[in-house]
Symmetry: D2
Subunit: 379 residues, 4 copies
């Protein structure tokens, strides 16, 4: 009998080059793993059973590479992808590592930095298109402040809009067909980052020139850093037709950005998330934006990558079991219905027996306990 | 010389009936103050110098009042408002106190609860209109979950939309002219509340039938509970033309809903907020949605209310001083400019000296330290 | 085959009267369940299979009861306990509900309040002793501030010490044999509560007159409100011989006090906790200080109580499986050893190959993924 | 008239070498400032008016320096200190940067790592003693976990105790006279760090062989990361005679470790802290463990350092004003008294009029508002 939790291409599991290639540097410590060349990262991903690889421009091409170096690197990378049957569904741009971006990129006070950031992004779009990516993620990690003295935050919104509009026009003109996915984060590396939550981006998108081209890329860790319910953010994005991409990992609330193995901090919230994505038949990539503990060598990195996918598949199986559970189905049936609101005339004439309605127990403790038992494999 | 920090009608300071009338009940303790009848609350507000009073339907009219009781109460209240020169700029509806709402109102699984919630809101709109309110706030305090087993969150979004559309249509048909202001909160009293942040509502509004009628009512405490930068949320709302109302109070992050006296938990973030509202000439009510400590009698409630307004006015004066400070102005001038992005052709041809750009210090430590000194009255 | 997750007296599962008797009042809503008389609560606990019941003085005896009422109530309660084979392992005192305690009890600025609080506690000790309790919990829920203007915090520590010393002496003189268990909480219902974490109490205890009589009562929710690792606090207390009692429930970090069903917010951290308690053979009560959702009637309260115990027992079984797993055992064996430090002379002469030591992967990703699979019943 | 906020040696303001020498590296970005040699850092500190400098061993001496290199470096450093009239009040050891410590130092599973960590600390003590330091800080930044699978947390406590006892004995034997100050932190760079709060260390110290030699080094940011009231932790340490050192900076709760300029995130909590330290006449160093924003060059670093001290002195002056304010004094006088508890006989006979006691307002809103006005220089 084959292992039911084996990753397959149809699962669309992808990893960023920066995830398996993460070297374990942190604010208080040095790198702990040797550099992993992109071609070897792709081989590693093929070995563990992933479907796709994503990248920032500089994960692949050094920021100061000459055009010919760039072309050689890209060629080798495409060969490695083909050899390992790995696709590139998404590309993005690094607008945070170089000191030039220390006060932001698209929202920097310095017009030269804003211009450079847009130019760099256009080139990253060229690269992504060349590699076959159809989703372009924008994470404005440095678009923020340590002190609100430095810039009016409404000004930052305007600058951000100008930049995203510029990028959309470029994609149109070059016929790249990109769908842009905006990724929110509340803080770190800045004291505060503008567009702190997925909701803020959902509010920003309708103000753009081409709102249809732009959606969101919610990340588990980023919403959970602020203690928010990630499922609710994902569901709102999905319902609005804006779930263009998703970043899976795990995170304890109210802390630094941990990017833990998917499901490892809280399997229950991961369960609700997997159940939702499968229930609504989300068919985009399941991208793991996480990295191995600093205690690991590259065998540990393989364990980490396999663990992300395996836990997803276990939770997916648990979700199917949940959906099929007769007692759970009955409890849901009793819980209520989607009947629309009555017409106004009817409604205004209606009288309600509040006490009677309130007296009925809703059996949510039972429902949640059954969920626990399905999740823990005890039912 | 008159006290420069005396509240005046032009400042548009308002308080909810539930704020000065808060009796100090909490999850672990009983009420500590006697009930304050609405007419006396209005007198108290007049005495301390407020301009307006806001209310939930049941702050004024008991949930089971007969039509004639209701009319008498409303009449007395209007008289009290006139006598004390207090206006009613905003009204809202209580969809959280009665046990019938224990699993939500507009998003409840029970269609009877949803219908009752809408009916109750229509009547609250009638009441608000009768009192002259032009802003109608909706805070869906019970629209949430303790377990996501009970309801698909995208279903909740749909129900919420149906309800808000219904209310807008009612306002149009009755020619009430209400502007609806949606108020987000991440949690409490529910484990998680849908539409956790102001950003989520900014994303929800464009999906409504009448998006122009609907904006947001950001509350300091609600964004800060999630550790978010309140100013940034307010600025995004303002920039989108959606800052229809604002709830001022204070809150320590990552805690229960504290509703402290404005500015008392963190005067620095309160300073940035006041400065923004004054800089952009926000001309809506400055509503204090806060309450006195449980240690207080009604003299303490007066101290509390006076303190909210006085701190606002001190911070407003500090903001003027900040704007006028020559050294601050010079630092801001040097910080950058709003020059738009170059044309694509120019941009793609441009080359940037990253190292040179990154070498220049931005003097934000100086700028923030000057801010501290202005704030602390030491400059 | 009997259900392996059925609660038995040997498991020492206890509930507070206030837990199953919780009526669902919260800061924004009224009670949703009718009062549950203590004798009926005991019957409910017997029905669901609990072993013990705990109580605050006023959970059983109203604060204004006459001596004869008090005696009758206590007699009926003892009868009910016997009839339902329920013991009373722990008692405590309510120093938070009555408005007299609005600014604290043992640390109040008012000497009359401090005296009354101690007197009330002595009487609660009499009651606990009469019911056979040997553990006396002290939770100073109101010992705190909203503003540090009101009291020097070192003064509060001194007052707290005076009170606890007083209580210890009373227990000695009356030969009650109580072991006092101090329960920390960071905030709510006060803005900040003194002795915010279990660690603070571990530091306070050695400064008492009778440190041997006093230990701690860590509560899951209270440490997790501050985002702290509960297991670590429990382990430190255990290692110091101070784990006198424990309060089990669940809680999402950075929020109001939720008191959710045990294990329901994060089964992984609950797993580590259960594993630790079982591994060290903790033999005190497993007290569930939680309550049913507000959506429930008393059938739901039963579901809640059964769920707490059932989840504990599932996790206990998972912990046994973890301990017996051959691959996990091998990974732990390889991870290191407890070999003591060498003598100073040897140590100073030693040289270390840092790079070689650091190159070995520690396989913690593998270890944690195996944990996930044991926990989820997928291994 | 001299500037009243000019730092003087009597203020005992100190900075770590790593603070003004911080190069601005973070998890998402590279260094932004060139290296600042220790001798230049000392000159910079002299220039801005600091009194002392602190250091980790490797802030001064590279981890692989030969003995002769080490001696030369130390000699040059002492010369620089003398030239700039800067003292070295405290020394510490870096047990976190090198990859050998990726799974902890004193609590590592690998006995070689534990031995190396202790050896490294002994040498750091030699260095500290040579430089005249009398306080030795221990921050176990890597003593923690990402998964509790790897180690029983009570085992970690035992290893930590073994190490600290070892160090104490070394200080005794070498007659170094060190007072050890243990520094807590809840997380980062580890998922969870053992001894998460100052309270945990206060509980740990009495279990050591030489508890009198060991106290704590509370850090503003570290308690505030967990949302705890820093003043309360400091006051408990002070009251227990354990405030051996203090780390001043600022931090927004529930976030990555920010190490902002003192007072800049929340001047009100900084005010209470300064007031306490001055009121109790704390006479140890005021150590600023913070660093300049990443937007700054070394002029900005100077602004940062000057700002830390200036804000401290402004708050100190505000505290004096608060203590002298007649209205505040009267409110405090009315608030209560320290009268000890009555004898047991008296107490048990006493009767209390709860309602009357509870009816009196405590005027804490007034007290806190007066505090705001003193703080903001508006009174």
């Amino acid at each position: 009998m084959p292992d039911p939790f084996t990753p397959l291409p149809a699962h669309k599991f992808s990893f960023g080059l920066w995830t398996v290639g993460n070297r374990g540097r942190d604010p208080f410590g040095d790198v702990v793993r040797p550099a992993l060349p992109p071609t070897e990262a792709v081989a590693l991903l093929g070995e563990v059973g992933a479907w796709g690889v994503n990248l920032h421009d500089n994960d692949l091409v050094p920021i100061d590479a000459s055009p010919s170096e760039r072309d050689r690197i890209v060629k080798d990378f495409k060969t490695a992808c083909e050899r390992n049957a790995i696709v590139v569904p998404m590309a993005t741009v690094n607008l945070f590592y170089d000191p030039v971006f220390r006060d932001g990129a698209f929202t920097s006070n310095d017009p030269r930095v804003r211009a450079y950031a847009v130019q760099k992004t256009l080139k990253a779009m060229d690269l992504g298109a060349e590699l076959g990516a159809t989703i372009f993620v924008l994470w404005g990690g440095r678009e923020g402040t340590e002190t609100d003295a430095c810039r009016r935050p409404d000004e930052a919104v305007k600058r951000l809009r100008e930049a995203v509009n510029y990028l959309c026009q470029y994609s149109i003109d070059r016929r790249y067909g990109f769908r842009f996915a905006l990724e929110a984060k509340p803080n770190e590396p800045r004291g505060d980052i503008y567009m702190a939550t997925t909701g803020n981006y959902l509010g920003f998108i309708p103000t753009l020139d081409h709102p249809d081209m732009v959606g969101v890329n919610p990340e588990v860790a980023h919403e959970q850093m602020a203690g928010l319910n990630f499922l609710h953010a994902v569901a709102q994005a999905w319902e609005a037709g804006k779930l263009f991409h998703i970043d899976l990992n795990d995170q304890v609330s109210g802390r630094y950005d941990q990017d833990f193995r998917f499901g490892s901090a809280n399997p229950k919230s991961a369960f609700w998330l997997v159940k939702f994505l499968e229930d609504v038949r989300y068919d985009g990539p399941r991208h793991f934006d996480a990295h191995a503990y600093r205690t690991e060598d590259y065998d540990g990195v393989r364990d980490f990558a396999r663990g992300c996918m395996r836990t997803y598949l276990i939770l997916k199986e648990r979700a199917q079991r949940w959906n099929a559970d007769a007692e759970i189905r009955e409890l849901l049936r009793e819980a209520g219905s989607n009947q629309p609101l009555p017409s106004r005339e009817t409604l205004l004439a209606q009288s309600f027996d509040r006490a009677a309605i309130a007296a009925r127990g809703l059996a949510y403790e039972r429902l949640d306990q059954l969920t626990m038992e399905v999740l823990l494999g005890a039912r």
